[in-house]
């Protein structure tokens, strides 16, 4: 028991090999499932927020199983911030664009004047754009919250 504890403490990078391998196998599927949840948000349970949380959880799993540095190599802090702001911009930009084209705020059918898909088609397609924006923003905020809190604001070692 003592020996096992010492050996675990000596291990440099994150958790044991079993956990690292399982996370390595699962992370691509988690991200694919997150994208599926975002894209299918308007037919089935799910949507932008849930899909974004799943996408963010994949990076949190990487940071927990390996190291915070490893997950920050895969998605840098700058890219993360840009993605989050882009998500918020997509949301607000679509909503304001609807208002500019003569509808109400978030009234997608007004975008019919820009590209003629028909008001019903735009109502379906507009919610898809909104979901993508929400998903990007939520993913970025989840990941950056974990990075900040997990490393005490230092952004170096992590848990």
């Amino acid at each position: 028991m003592k020996l096992l504890q010492e050996r675990t403490a000596k291990l440099k990078l994150g958790e044991s090999l079993i956990i690292q391998t399982a996370v390595r196998i699962m992370v691509p599927f988690i991200q694919l499932f997150g994208l599926y949840v975002i894209v299918h948000g308007h037919y089935s349970p799910g949507g932008g927020f849930q899909g974004g949380v799943i996408l963010g959880a994949s990076f949190v799993a990487l940071a927990l199983a390996f190291d915070q540095k490893f997950s920050m190599q895969l998605m840098s802090e700058r890219v993360n911030g840009v993605l989050g702001n882009l998500g918020a911009l997509i949301f607000v930009g679509t909503a304001v664009l609807c208002a500019l084209f003569g509808g109400l705020f978030l009234d997608y059918s007004a975008l019919d004047k820009l590209i003629p898909l028909g008001p019903i088609g735009w109502r379906s397609f507009g919610i898809f754009i909104i979901e993508v924006g929400v998903g990007l923003a939520v993913m970025s905020i989840m990941v950056s919250l974990f990075w900040d809190i997990g490393s005490n604001g230092e952004m170096d070692e992590g848990l």
Partner: protein
Amino acid sequence: MSVAAAIFITAGLFFFLVGVIGVLRLPDFYTRLHAAGKCDSLAAELVIVGVALYVLQDFNLGNTLVGMKILLIAVFVFIASPTATHALTKAALVAGVEPWKKGEKKS
């Protein structure tokens, strides 16, 4: 097909029952985790396969898609839950939880 589904689900529920009795009765953390791991891997797998068989009763494209999704969940659980059990055990070991020895009181 529906009889096979019922057999699978009943077997899964039996293993869940055994696992729950184990979690309630066994003396310490490691042995309880051993019982809970049986619930997570074997019993959940059996129930999921049973549900997939039940969905695939009348065979068309939509039902096949749903069945494939359920089987994918089965594969995912099969990878994830033993790993989770391993992580919990390792965390307890690092935190210094002593294993139960014969003659001690239940914790």
